[in-house]
Subunit: 512 residues, 2 copies
């Protein structure tokens, strides 16, 4: 079946799609204030994953809210972790099961950076940075302006989907429509802490979590405000490299060009690892990189161009990769020097040869690289530059007896993941969303960033597609996080379409 | 005349040298407690150059102390600077005039790092780090142990010479000896702040400061505890280099290997400037470097070896310059990367592409390099690496329209200086000190560090020799600065010899 990957809008939404959308939309229009109040209520509960008491209150509130809609709820627990709020809503006669993922925890806050309390949601008549004024909660009546914004931690990342899904369920019920797939809900409570227990939780609950598709409701839509879908994420490996100078700082006049300068040694080493076009110079590093598929190439070619505007807004006089488009670059591994430190600069600078210099690096992986093979190749490369590689602090004896030592300390890391965009399920998700929106969506073969999609793919053997709804200018992770109301309204319609129509579209796409 | 540069002790000190030393020593032995109390009294006055009120109290105390010895004192002032304490003591019949330089200001302190108050001098029966115990001031009686140490800011750097010279004057007077040269005393009050007004002060007082030799009483003796003389210092040029990434930090996953990584650009640039043996790779950089003279080579060859012990104590598995000795290395220019910063490392690290990366560099110069030519060559080198060089923060437009920009901000800098070790005056200083000590001194063609010796040489057209007396393990500039008593006693004898004998020895050395 033709889908709109890489093509301009070619056909109108099906009659059925239009009908579902119309019923969700009319429900939403009549209940805007209620939906917003439900989200604001959830935002009032602080949700940093380390704050166990508040996390439990969030979980309980979500259990109650979904329970009221007839979803069979429970909390999945592993020791020491916030619970996963889990729910099941079987659809009589449905052949396929779809798990809807979101997370209810939020990034830590620095309250002093915020205008107001991060957990006291505020409605504004526009973006705060454009002078958006506060709208009082009392007396609120539909229709609300779609350009209003709701401010608060997790307004967009990632409580909006949790409440948006509730509104979609309500809307379908009000229209007398039943879901076309069995629904499972999986709301994580420590995503912003790096999901340290996700793997053990998925393993421990693999049976219950069985399904034909995971949809990740997290992240922002495209910068053009068009709906985007993502089918993969880059993996990650991170390493901190330390090289050593004298045991104590030395006067750079009295000892300079005799005592080993660790900054000089480090910059020379780093300079051998990547060039300033982003090319990775480590031998064998890219051997495992698989070429883009035909569907990926089509999707890349069809994505709206954003590079030039982005480049200008970022004041970049050039981009790496000799000007290749951002999306193409994200299909490749990256070696990012995200931190370097040795001695001091600026007013704190002193004329001393420092004792060590450190670089902090994250490496973004693509299929079929693995953190283990990348680590081997990097360590081999560092050795070839004349260094003895250690993974722990070297002893005094070792430092004395080895002319060049590099300490490499690795984080855990995980591989990339990409769902084949040509699978019937992928085509079905794209088509369902495009037919709901009535315009092509931006289909991203991969996120540049890293999320552990591979866990769902590897442990649960299920395809994974990301369906973000938040505005791209949501200040996610920062102060004054916000959600544009139109994005929530659109999200509710997309959720309704996925619930009501995905089963049928999938059936059609799967037909030989 | 033969001097002991590079030779083992070859002849006993002259009878006259022995006689002068004996009389200074016997005076000192009888007055140890008085001398020490006079130094302690001066150490009680805080002396950070920015603390004007205390600085004036120091100056006044020194004027009083020298005035009591019959030296004609005055304060030399330029606006906004601590006064130079200046004195003259003409020697009837002397043909030559020697200016004795020291400084009465001290490094700033961090009181919390000190054991006790930095300006409450404490006598200890050994180094604090070896558990040296406090000796009460009351009841102190000679002979004091020469291994005792006096703790306090500027105990060694640089008030010891100011009080040591007073003791030498007293000792000569008690022995009925008159100085062999006209004496001028020049005590600076902002050396530790980088002598920002020294040039204007010397220029404004060039007539009064006329003389045949400047002796700099500052710095530590050799690590072997042998007396050292230095005939030069490396010059310095410093520069901070900034390269630019995106205007705001970007997620390294979502933008990595597309957005310019300023750390990557900086390390590649720095890697082209020097290798990890300290070789400077900037074209033309060393064109102006003059070769060592025969006397300098002899002095280098004769200096006691310290490299291996130093290397071991510093845990250096190698040294730069392919193992060449430290003193040889100091005859060459150095490009020291003393600070580098971009993004963050360690627990503060984030997966972001930072907005800029900065390196702080000091370049040590040797004759006949100049800061101006070095700057030209470095900027030309940076340009050749593809960068547009600016000296101020680039505008947004400039950043957008130039693919690679490097901002280079230069400090003032100044050239190196070396007094010819073969001049009669140089030979006379060496011989006077060696005959006093009864053993060869360590003659250093240059300090590795930078002090503005060139000012005396260029503005006043006078040769300059450094005569340090402090113990090398004095924790100068750090907390718990201290002076070993034997170093003070030796210093007083050397000062006495220079006052009483330099004129005669010089006369002999100058004879054709």
């Amino acid at each position: 079946m033709g889908v709109w990957v890489g093509l301009p809008p070619a056909k109108p939404a099906s009659n059925e799609a239009a009908a579902v959308r119309a019923s969700v939309r009319s429900y939403r229009k009549a209940h805007e204030v209620e939906v917003l109040r439900e989200l604001a209520g959830l935002l009032e509960i602080p949700n940093v994953s380390s704050d166990s008491a508040s996390i439990e209150r969030n979980a309980e509130a979500i259990v109650q809210a979904y329970g009221r809609r007839g979803v069979r709820m429970e909390l999945l627990r592993v020791p020491g972790a916030p619970p996963v709020v889990y729910g099941e809503l079987p659809a009589p006669g449905a052949k396929r099961t779809v798990i809807f993922y979101a997370h209810y925890d939020g990034q830590p806050v620095r309250p002093s950076d915020w205008t107001g309390d991060p957990w006291k949601p505020v409605l504004r008549d526009g973006p705060l940075r454009d002078g958006g004024k506060e709208i009082p909660w009392n007396g609120l009546a539909a229709p609300l302006s779609p350009e209003w914004r709701l401010y608060g931690r997790s307004a967009s990342d990632d409580k909006a989907p949790i409440v948006g899904l509730l509104a979609a369920l309500d809307a379908l019920r009000a229209a007398g429509r039943t879901p076309s797939v069995n629904l499972k809900f999986f709301f994580e409570g420590e995503e912003e802490a790096g999901s340290p227990h996700l793997e053990s939780l998925l393993s421990a609950n693999a049976d219950r979590l069985r399904g034909d598709l995971w949809l990740l409701f997290d992240g922002p839509v495209h910068q053009t405000r068009r709906m985007a879908l993502y089918f993969g994420a880059r993996g990650v490996a991170d390493v901190e490299i330390t090289v050593y100078g004298p045991r104590r700082p030395l006067h750079s006049g009295h000892y300079g060009n005799w005592a080993v300068n660790p900054i000089a040694a480090l910059v020379r080493l780093l300079g051998t690892m990547r060039d300033d076009e982003g090319r990775i110079l480590v031998s064998g590093f890219s051997d495992d990189v698989r070429a883009p598929t035909a569907a990926e190439k089509r999707a890349l070619a069809a994505a709206p161009p954003v590079d030039e505007e982005l480049r200008r807004s970022l004041l970049l006089g050039r981009t790496e990769g000799e000007g290749a488009p951002l999306l193409d670059r994200l299909m490749l591994p990256a070696l990012n020097l995200h931190g370097i430190a040795g001695g001091a600069v600026g007013p704190a600078a002193t004329n001393s040869i420092p004792t060590e210099a450190v670089a902090s690096i994250d490496i973004r992986l693509v299929p079929n690289q693995t953190p283990g093979r990348v680590r081997e190749r990097i360590e081999e490369h560092v050795r070839r530059q004349g260094f003895t590689v250690v993974n722990e602090e070297p002893s005094a004896e070792m430092r004395l007896s080895h002319p060049r030592i590099a300490k490499l300390v690795w984080g855990a890391g995980y591989p990339a993941s990409r769902t084949d965009m040509d699978l019937p399920v992928s085509r079905a998700v794209i088509r369902t969303v495009e037919e709901d929106r009535g315009e092509p969506v931006v289909n991203l073969p991969t996120l540049g960033g890293s999320i552990p999609m591979y866990l769902f793919a590897e442990i649960l053997r299920a395809p994974v597609v990301g369906v973000p709804i938040a505005n791209h200018d949501n200040d996610q992770h920062a102060a004054n996080e916000n959600l544009r109301l139109q994005n929530l309204w659109d999200g509710i319609e997309v959720y309704g379409a996925l619930m009501a129509r995905l089963g049928g579209v999938w059936e059609a796409e799967a037909r030989p």
